[in-house]
């Protein structure tokens, strides 16, 4: 597990820290019906790593947002609503770009991606619906995500 965390974070110190946290959490969690302990542990580790990455990025954004909002407010009155409106507009455009990119996905990949992500079907059901193997579905979804990443990169 430590080897995985080092590989996943690229940082042996952080990996040790995460392993500690993972260990604490699993030890504290009352034993429950967990079907596959190993997969569960790895997925929990993945979530911890992702949370840290997201937190780091969010912190940067939040620090900026906070100083932005300071300029706006005097004793509860919003002085200039412009920056907030602008933020919302940018966020809306981000969402619109995401939806547009999803609409432009190649056909097979797009169908598998939409069935799984928009309609919430598990891989196996998407496979049955499209008449392909589960691994085929995973391939399609992976292609779709690589496409989306490129489309949203700029």
């Amino acid at each position: 597990m430590l080897r995985f965390l080092v590989a996943r974070t690229g940082n042996p110190v952080e990996a040790e820290d995460l392993l500690q946290e993972l260990w604490l959490r699993t030890r504290e969690a009352p034993p429950g019906p967990i079907a596959n302990g190993r997969a569960y542990l790895y997925r929990a580790a993945q979530n911890l790593v992702l949370d840290r990455i997201r937190e780091a990025r969010r912190r940067e954004a939040r620090d900026k947002d906070w100083s932005d909002s300071q300029a706006e407010t005097i004793a509860g009155d919003r002085v200039d609503p412009q920056p907030r409106a602008l933020d919302a507009m940018i966020a809306r455009e981000d969402n619109a770009a995401l939806h547009a990119a999803i609409a432009r996905l190649p056909e097979g990949a797009g169908r598998a991606f939409r069935l799984h992500k928009l309609e919430g079907l598990p891989h196996a059901e998407v496979a049955a619906r499209l008449g392909i193997s589960r691994s085929g579905v995973e391939k399609h979804i992976a292609v779709a995500m690589a496409h989306l990443r490129r489309a949203l990169e700029n």
């Binding site: 080897r3 995985f4 590989a7 996943r8 690229g10 946290e21 959490r25 504290e28 969690a29 009352p30 034993p31 429950g32 019906p33 596959n36 190993r38 997969a39 790895y42 997925r43 929990a44 993945q46 992702l50 949370d51 840290r52 990455i53 997201r54 937190e55 990025r57 969010r58 906070w66 909002s69 300071q70 706006e72 407010t73 004793a75 509860g76 009155d77 919003r78 609503p81 907030r84 933020d87 919302a88 981000d94 969402n95 995401l98 939806h99 992500k117 928009l118 309609e119 919430g120 079907l121 891989h123 995973e138 979804i141 992976a142 292609v143 995500m145 690589a146 989306l148 990443r149 490129r150």
Partner: protein, 310 residues
Amino acid sequence: MNEDIHEAAARWHVAQQHDDMKWCGFTCWLEADPRHRLAYDEIALLDARIDAALPGPAVRGGTSEMPMRGFPRWAVGSGIAAAATIALALGIGFQGEQPEAPAAREFASAARTTRTVQLAHGVTASLGAGSRLSEPEAGGPMRLRGSAFFNIRHDPARSVVVEVDGYRIRDVGTRFAVNSANGVLSLSVEEGTVALQLPGQTSETLVAAGQEAIAQAGRVTLRPARVANIASWRSGRFVYDQTPLALVAADIARYTGQPVSVSGPAAQRPFSGVLAPGDRQAMVSTLTQLTGLHAESDGQTVRLVDRTGG
């Protein structure tokens, strides 16, 4: 960066939800080239962003209401409160029952949404789903029901007092989160120091940055809090670290807008784990899997019970 790397990263990412994921193979792939890890980070973040942007995709039959990471709706009124002290009173279970306060500005967040509001004196409050906050225009006590994260600008001329079900929280310029339900109070401090006074007591317990105070039944315990996890609902997830199940159940109930309760000794049991927002059934099912508790429904309320008899 090479497109094949991102596709490979996405394949690993997609495969991990199955129990037959080759974790050793994934580790080797990550180790083979440092670019693999960066590509994987990008894909995982993109996936999280997609899940946040698409209405309720992961939950079948779930409603397509606003996702949790909605934009804060900035509700700003015009009352200038003159009082130097702001008091917040957090009432447990006074649903539908208006406090007899004079004219006040009311802020409420619906189920499945969070909301950030700017209040007087440089106070910003982010309300968790299904929570309510009222700020009297005259500057009297504020009332909060549910959970909220407060960001209070430092001002040496005043201190902010939060009254929570008889608890008093006093601070000068800080960031902290409060969650209260079923007689249990959690207070996590991200920055600065706040003083917590228990009902009927005169002494204060100091809670410093990076600490969480859990108060129930006239007792308070302090423990370290991971700053990254404070009011984690703001980022679309409920992260718990040794949190009493009473608060976890209340979070689910407020988020989904449907009653969830846990009673008896199980209510005090600490829970650690991560809950993704979803419909009540999905969230309760994750919780029961992680805790070993059983969910019983009478058609209205879902009750979490310990069938092992302790």
